[in-house]
Every structure is written in structure tokens, then in C-alpha cells.
Symmetry: C2
Subunit: 460 residues, 2 copies
């Protein structure tokens, strides 16, 4: 073990925690494209979004100008229950890889949701409560977001209705029980409880569900009831705003020890972790203060940034949501059943999409077996059993560290370790048994998905 | 939320972490009774124990005189990967209970084993490696110890053979997969891989196993092979020594803020968490420096302290281990299948037993449904989903806090939150579905267990 001044884990004091979120859109010269009303193709207004989302969240969603937004004291107090999260120096991994690179990771898994999702869940539940609502509805796939929202709703005394992608509901009964323990109602999606669910089931009676379907049901369930709103755990601008707490803490911890990252790596499904982690660093780059390399890592089985189209598309399968301009595989795209874990959304955060489109970020796709190989090695040397999602970032962090070894470069790598894999052991079991498959969609598979993209003028 | 100078979580700096373990036996006027050789009824010697246990651990086991034992630097470095664990002020729980009591808990669940078990696993694997061994064998019930040892063996490059109680192996396949991910070999017990396993299966072909059986198999598997030793996750003096790191950190954190506990509460199965948590505080009391109330909490379904006998008994079902003087239900006792989670060992740490016998500690047994009610409330207000084991301590901490409310007493309560319940969702599901049973052994059940206690002179 090397002697070093930098501890294994840097914990900020509670007083050093961020008191404002950072809104990267304020520093983007070309802003992300606005959400469009699919009927008029005009940008969605506060009035149009308010029946679906909590009012203050709508304002955050549309705010492209304020760089810093105060975190209400009550949210800060809830953050203090599980934050600051540690910034960990991966001494053991560096030693194992024999790399001159210095590797850091921001670990968001030390809370019961097992991921960073709680950062936005608390904020969204807070604003729902403040607005006097009875409850919120949402969807969940891998289950981390649903768990996080259940926890937040228990804190604030809100009803929580979760539409859980049917295949996850069946394969992850324990995730469901965690949500129930926090008082949430969990329904497998598609279900017969919504019109859109009935329609999808009539057309595809054997479907195992998708995030896109579950979003449609959750939205319908919210807008059809008094006192309910819909909340979403990723993709949206507001979510990236809340998740900026990850990057702000990471940056504060690194600044405290004079550490400067060269490469910043995050896994990307809807983009909330990645967007949150990179935002303050990206802000520095946008303001011309410092240069970084950013790498978004996605599964080869759901490659929205690396093989998707940058167009306006629906956020859900039932086509009940506004249109978002994003890298997308088409709202009907469903990744192969061989794909384990999350990162299975057909689209990508408009903010992340626009940053990538402007060439400010790289994207890389990785295959499942390579991801689990990285996860296993990481677990054995660093102790933490990573979520499959997080292991995408680990894979590329390792690859970059090995590249540094080849080139003899002493770079500093920061990656986001979004969560733990305790509820993903079925996937680990497949890997342990050597029966994991890497299915990558063919060009024909992708064309099928693209065919579902709405036929509208795409030069917005 | 109250304004307060004490943060939600007190994290010591890595430099403030203990550099020595504390051995409470050194301050006990009447020492715990020695292990006896069942053949001679003489105290076990280093030479007799060395074929079973690692040599340096045997020395720790028999050391009743040295109060402080250096923690080797390498173990300290591994501790720094997941320690210090936070001392949490339960502001939300206090508010929920409307109690004047101040509640603190030492949370040991923020590592992949999900519990405090890793503290001793790392120490035991370190000494095994130092001795040049090939591997170690052990048993696991709920799975936390097996996971912890798997992690530690991955760190040190040791083989790890885990005999897992058959009912847990079947009900907790995900625990098994975590161990496999760390490279351990996991065998359901009783098995046909050992003579004692074959014998037990011949007599009880339908048995679902017990910790006592699994210990017998693990011991046989170790002593019958070159380069292997047996390790145990609780009960033993050496384990309590390693676990003193919990109490030492808790005390250092409290001292830092001038907080003095009145009541200290821990769940008790084999006694390792309880013994580790209380040891430095008990040391103060034994030296006449300060008074505390200590409460051991055990399940009503496995009530070794509250209904057991304080006699010499075997540590395992196959009667291959030395005899230990402890509160015991008889080495053949198996708790009802309705009992969820751990805390199912038939005996109790000789150190804890002797302290209890001397009247230095109280013991209380609690029923399962009341335990899960406490767990649910705790999860919903404090966020952390507790292990069923840990929830025993939560139950009594809440009861004590409510007692303070009745009496208007502003006491300070410290309890050990040993771990998380992520792998115990089958039990939570029963509770959520309202089909949890509280089975308490009858006097006749207990008599059956007592009948298995060896018929030797018990006045040692």
C-alpha cells in the first residue's frame, strides 16, 4: 500500500456541502432544444406542463438562464442524512492494474435506494409536498428510481404509485418489497389499470414491458387524478439539475486536496448521473476556464448516443408525453432480454445530447461480458459490489487507466460509481455461471426502432 | 428539523481511527471460563488449538491480560477502505417518537458484506495469509459472515470454503452469488462432502441445517486438509477483540462532541457486535470510571441469555469443537423455521455470558413482529433499511426512548445498527403481507435442547 497524503475516502463536512444546485444550461452558448407540444410543435409552456409536473419543477425544467439555484433548507437537511457521499481514491485498483494513472470515484451507493437517484427523488417529493399534492406516480425499470422515490415519499408523507417494468417486477421481487416497505404501491407494467396499458396489452399481450410503456402508464395515472403529478428519475433538465450535487461535491473534495481530473467518466442511460457528475466541470470548460475529457459510457445493447439519431422523439412508448430533442433509438425500442440492469432507455437527456452533439463529450459503448469482468475485478480489489450500470463506467475507467500504463501517462481519472448491485445478483449469477450473452442490435433492429420516430420537420 | 451543533453523521478522520484493539478481558476481575478439551476437560492449549485456528488468533483467543493489542498496519489499511463507520444522530427518529431522549446509532452496514462482520474477517484472513496458509473454511447462516470472509479472502488471495446452512442457501441464492463473485466456494450444509455431514444426513435426511451443523462441517474440512484453518465469525474471544473497533470508534466520536451515553444497546446472536460495541464502555465501568446500562437484545425464538443455561457446551452440533462455558440452549437447538434472519446460534460468546452472569448487563428478548414494526418505522424515518438482526436493537432503543418520554427523562441512547436488510426481503415480504408468525419455544422445546448438553461436572 502506497503512503499518501490523500485518504482513501474524502468526506466533506456537512457544512461544506453544496447549498445551491448548478444549472449547466446557463453556461451553454447553444441551449438544449426545448420540449415540444406534439400537437402544435410549439415549445411547451409552463401552463401546458403544469398538469403533469409539479409547478416549481416545471420552472426548473424551462430555466436556461440561472446558473445557481438555491437548494431549499429542508432538502439540504434530507441530503445530510446520507450525503456527502465519499470521493474514493482507488488505490487498490491502481495497484492491481499497475497503472501510473490516479483513479478516483464518487460513490453514490451508500443509501437504501442503492444509487444516486435519491438526490432527485427528495427534491421532487419536496416540491410535490410544498404544492399540497396527495401523491406522485412514476415508472421504474431496474428499480433504483422507484426505491428512491418510495423513500422520499415516506419522508414527506406522500402517496407513491410506481409502475414497474413487468420483467423487472418478476425478476426483482425484492426491489418491489423494498418499495412496499417504504409504503409505495407497485404495479407491474403494462397493466390493466390504465387505458394506455390496456391498449399496449391488447396489441402485445406477451410483452414484458419497457420503460417507455411504464412512463405512459404513470403519466396517465397522474393526470387522471386530482392531487397527483408525475415524476421522472432521469432524462429531464430538472433531474440533471438536482444531480449536480454529485459533481459539486466531487469538485469541492478534489479542490480541497488540489486534485485536478483529466478524464471524467460516467455511465449513461437517461443521463442523470452523467449529467450531474460532469456539470460543474463542464461549466468550467464552457466558460473557458479549464479543459477536460468527458466520456459517456452506454451499453452496446442500447446505444442511443453511439448509434442513435439526434431528433425529436416521444419520451414514452404510448406517445402521451411531449417531444424531446435527443439521441434516440425510437420510443418503441426495447433492448434484448439478455441485457441486464438499467441503462435501457431509448433516448438520452437533451442536455447530454446537445453537449455530445457539440463535440464537448465522447461516447463509448461496451459489451455486457466485459462490463461484468470489470465489475468482478473491482469488487475483489475495492470491496464494493457495483451495480451493472455503474460497472459500465468502471470498464472504461479501467481501459483508460490501462491506456495510461501503455503510454506511461500519469493522468487523473474520475468516474461516477452510481450504485451497488445487491439487487442484481441474477445477472451476476449468469456471469458466474458463464452463461451471459452479449447481444448487440443489428442495423435492421435499429431501423425498426427508428421507424417509430414521429414524422415531423426535424430542423427545429 | 432541530438546529443542533451535532451533525447527522459523525465521521472520524482516517487518522483518528483506532490503532489498537481493546481486550475487555484484561479489565474483567473474574475472567470468562476457558475453552475445555472435551476428552480431558482440561483448558485447551495453544498446541491443541493450533491445528484448527491460525496461530496468532489462538494467542488472541487465550490472552486474558493485554488490554490493548496493536492492529497491524495492513489491517488498518483495509479498514480505511470502508471505515470509519458513521455514528449517526437519529434526529428523525427522535422527532417521530416525540421523545426527549437523544438517540445515536453506530452504523456498520456501509460495506458489501452489509454488516460489521468484515471487521473480523479482514483480521482473520490477514493472519491466515501471514501464516502462509492456502485457505480457510467457515460456516454462514444469514450470510453476512460468509460474504465478509469471501471479501477478505479476495483481498488476501486465499481460498474460501463456506458451508452455508441449507435453508439459507436455498432461500438466499443472492447471498450465495455475492460470495461466488468474490471467488468463494459455497456448499449447502449438511452436505456429503464431510463425514460429519454424512452422519447428520443419515440421521436427519430432511434437515434444513443449522449453524451448529455447518460449524462441524467447516471444522472437519479445515483440519482434514494441509494448509487450511477454520475461522468463525462470532462467539470467540478473538472475534470480540476485532469487533472492539466498533466501540472504540463510537466512543472516540462521542468524546469528540462531549456526548455521554446512558444506555448502550446491541443485538446479540453469538455476541460479536454487542461485545465489540460495548467493550470500551464496559472497560470504563469495570475500572470504576463511569456507569452505563448495557442491554443485550435477542430474539424470543432463540433466547440463549434470557432462557438458556450457563454451562459448558459444545459450540457445534457434531460435537467436534472444544467446550465453551456460555449461556446455551444446547448444541442441538434449532430455532423455529418461522424465525427470520440471523441471531439463531444456540450459544453466546463466553465474554458476553460472563459479563451478563456478573450482572453487568441486562438481557431482553423480543418477538419478531414487533421487531419488523420497528424496522419499518426506522426505514421510513431514518432511510436505512435495517437487517432483521439489527432491528432487534432498534426495537429496544425505541422502547427505551418511549420510556424516557413517559418519564420525561433526557437520556442518551446508543445502539448498534449492525447492518442492512437488502438480502432479507423474503422476511420483509412476509411482514408486508401480514403473514409473519411469532413462534416462541415452549419449556418442553427448551428441555429437548438442554438434554443435549454434555453430562460433565459443570462447576468449572
Amino acid at each position: 500500500m502506497k503512503k499518501n497524503e490523500i485518504p482513501y475516502k474524502i468526506y466533506l463536512d456537512e457544512q461544506e456541502m453544496p447549498k445551491q444546485w448548478y444549472n449547466v444550461r446557463a453556461d451553454m452558448k447553444k441551449k438544449p432544444a426545448p420540449l415540444l407540444n406534439p400537437a402544435t410543435l410549439e415549445p411547451m409552456t409552463v401552463e401546458e406542463l403544469a398538469p403533469v409536473f409539479c409547478r416549481e419543477l416545471v420552472e426548473q425544467e424551462l430555466d436556461n438562464t440561472n446558473a445557481y439555484i438555491d437548494i431549499p433548507q429542508e432538502i439540504q437537511d434530507y441530503y445530510r442524512m446520507y450525503r456527502p457521499s465519499p470521493l474514493v481514491r482507488a488505490y487498490r485498483l491502481e495497484e492491481k492494474l499497475q497503472t501510473p494513472a490516479k483513479i478516483y470515484y464518487k460513490f453514490e451507493g451508500n443509501n437504501t435506494s442503492g444509487s444516486h437517484k435519491l438526490n432527485s427523488a427528495i427534491a421532487q417529493a419536496y416540491y410535490a409536498k410544498k404544492q399540497g399534492l396527495t401523491g406522485v406516480t412514476t415508472e421504474t425499470g431496474a428499480g433504483q428510481w422507484g426505491t428512491a422515490l418510495s423513500m422520499a415519499c415516506a419522508y414527506f408523507g406522500l402517496d407513491c404509485d410506481v409502475y414497474m417494468v413487468k420483467v423487472s417486477y418478476e425478476q426483482k421481487p425484492f426491489r418491489r418489497e423494498v418499495m412496499r416497505t417504504y409504503g409505495a404501491k407497485v404495479t407491474p407494467s403494462p397493466s390493466m389499470t390504465t387505458e394506455v396499458g390496456k391498449k399496449i396489452l391488447a396489441e402485445h399481450p406477451d410483452t414484458t414491458g419497457s420503460l417507455g410503456c411504464a412512463i405512459s402508464e404513470a403519466v396517465e395515472s397522474a393526470v387522471s387524478r386530482e392531487g397527483y403529478r408525475y415524476v421522472l428519475g432521469s432524462v429531464l433538465n430538472q433531474v440533471l439539475l438536482h444531480q449536480s450535487v454529485i459533481g459539486l461535491e466531487a469538485k469541492a473534495a478534489m479542490d480541497k486536496y488540489g486534485v485536478i481530473a483529466d478524464v471524467i467518466i460516467g455511465c449513461a442511460g437517461g443521463g442523470s448521473n452523467l449529467g450531474g457528475l460532469i456539470s460543474p466541470f463542464m461549466g468550467e470548460m464552457l466558460r473557458g476556464e479549464r479543459d477536460y475529457r468527458f466520456i459517456a459510457v452506454e451499453p452496446a445493447s442500447c446505444p442511443s448516443l453511439t448509434r442513435g439519431k439526434y431528433v425529436y422523439d416521444f419520451c414514452d412508448t404510448g406517445m402521451v408525453t411531449p417531444l424531446a430533442k435527443m439521441y434516440t433509438l425510437g420510443s418503441g425500442f426495447i433492448p434484448s432480454a439478455n441485457h441486464a440492469g438499467g441503462l435501457r432507455y431509448h433516448g438520452m437527456s437533451p442536455v447530454v445530447s446537445e453537449l455530445f452533439h457539440q463535440g464537448l463529450m465522447e461516447a463509448r459503448s461496451v459489451e455486457q461480458t466485459a462490463v461484468f469482468e470489470a465489475a468482478e475485478m473491482f469488487a475483489r480489489v475495492e470491496g464494493i459490489l457495483p451495480a451493472p450500470e455503474s460497472a459500465h463506467a468502471i470498464r472504461v475507467a479501467m481501459d483508460e487507466a490501462l491506456h495510461c500504463k501503455e503510454k506511461g501517462e500519469e493522468k487523473t481519472i474520475l468516474f461516477g460509481l452510481t450504485g451497488t448491485g445487491y439487487f442484481d445478483m441474477l445477472a451476476y449469477e449468469k456471469f458466474n455461471d458463464g452463461i451471459m450473452n452479449d447481444y448487440i442490435p443489428t442495423d435492421e433492429d435499429l431501423e425498426q426502432g427508428f421507424a417509430g420516430i414521429p414524422n415531423i420537420p426535424q430542423n427545429q
